[in-house]
Symmetry: C2
Subunit: 131 residues, 2 copies
C-alpha cells in the first residue's frame, strides 16, 4: 500500500533524465532503452506531462522531449495528479457510490491523513527531491 505506480516511477526517471540533458531533444526510445522501460508505456506517460506543460514535445525526425521552465517549480502533488488524478488514500471522497456513508466512522481520520499528505506534497517540488 501507499505505493507509487510504474507510470509515476517511469515519469520520475524520465524527468530526471531530461533535467540532466537540458539542451537537447530526447526521444522516448532513448530513455526507454537506457532504463529498460517499455517504450509505449513511457510514451503515454510523457504525453500527459507534455499536455500539462511540465515537459515540451517536438514531433518529427530529430524530435523528442525536453524539460520546460516549469519543471523545477512543479510540486510533487501537481506531478502525481497529472499522472494519476487526485491525491487521496481512499477513493470514497471522489466516488459518490459509498453504501456505508451513514455508518462511516473514519471520515475525520481519513480527511486528516489526506490533508497531511497533500500538504506534504504541495511543499515539495521536483527540484527539492533531486538535490
Amino acid at each position: 500500500m501507499l505505493k507509487i505506480t510504474k507510470k509515476v516511477e517511469y515519469a520520475l526517471i524520465a524527468v530526471r533524465h531530461l533535467q540532466e540533458n537540458k539542451d537537447k531533444l530526447v526521444p522516448v526510445a532513448e530513455i526507454a532503452s537506457s532504463y529498460g522501460i517499455p517504450r509505449e508505456v513511457l510514451a503515454k506517460t510523457l504525453q500527459k506531462l507534455a499536455s500539462s506543460n511540465v515537459i515540451e514535445s517536438c514531433k518529427g525526425p530529430a524530435g523528442g522531449y525536453k524539460a520546460s521552465d516549469k519543471i523545477e517549480k512543479t510540486t510533487l502533488n501537481d506531478f502525481f495528479e497529472i499522472l494519476e488524478g487526485p491525491t487521496a488514500i481512499m477513493d470514497c471522497y471522489f466516488d459518490s457510490g459509498c453504501d456505508h456513508l451513514s455508518s462511516c466512522n473514519i471520515r475525520t481520520p481519513i480527511n486528516k491523513i489526506n490533508d497531511s499528505i497533500r500538504n506534504l506534497f504541495d511543499n515539495l517540488t521536483l527540484a527539492d527531491i533531486s538535490q
Copy 2:
C-alpha cells in the same frame, strides 16, 4: 496510487469502534456486521493488531477485542507497518532483485519522498487523527 488497502481501512474502522466502546469486549462479528465488512478479512486483520498489542483479545464465549492502553500512542507509521510492512512508495529498497540499480537515477528522489512520508506518519498518532 498511494492508496491504503481495505485491510487498513477495516482496521481503522475497528480501532475507532473499539475506542468508542472501551469498557466491553467486542466480537469481530459485531464490527463486521455493523460496517458491512467481510468477517474473515476483518478477523485476520485484528489478529495482527492483537499480536502487536495495539488491541487485546479474549477467546471463548463473551470474548472479543478491546482497545489497549497502547492504542492512543500508536503512530500511523507503526499501525501501517504492523498491517502492511515497511512504509515506502517503492519496493526496491527491500527487495534485492532490481536489475537496473546501476542505471537508476531516482534513488535520491525516492529516498527523500520515503523519508518525508515516514517522518509525517511517525509524528501522527491514532489519537491525533481521531479528533
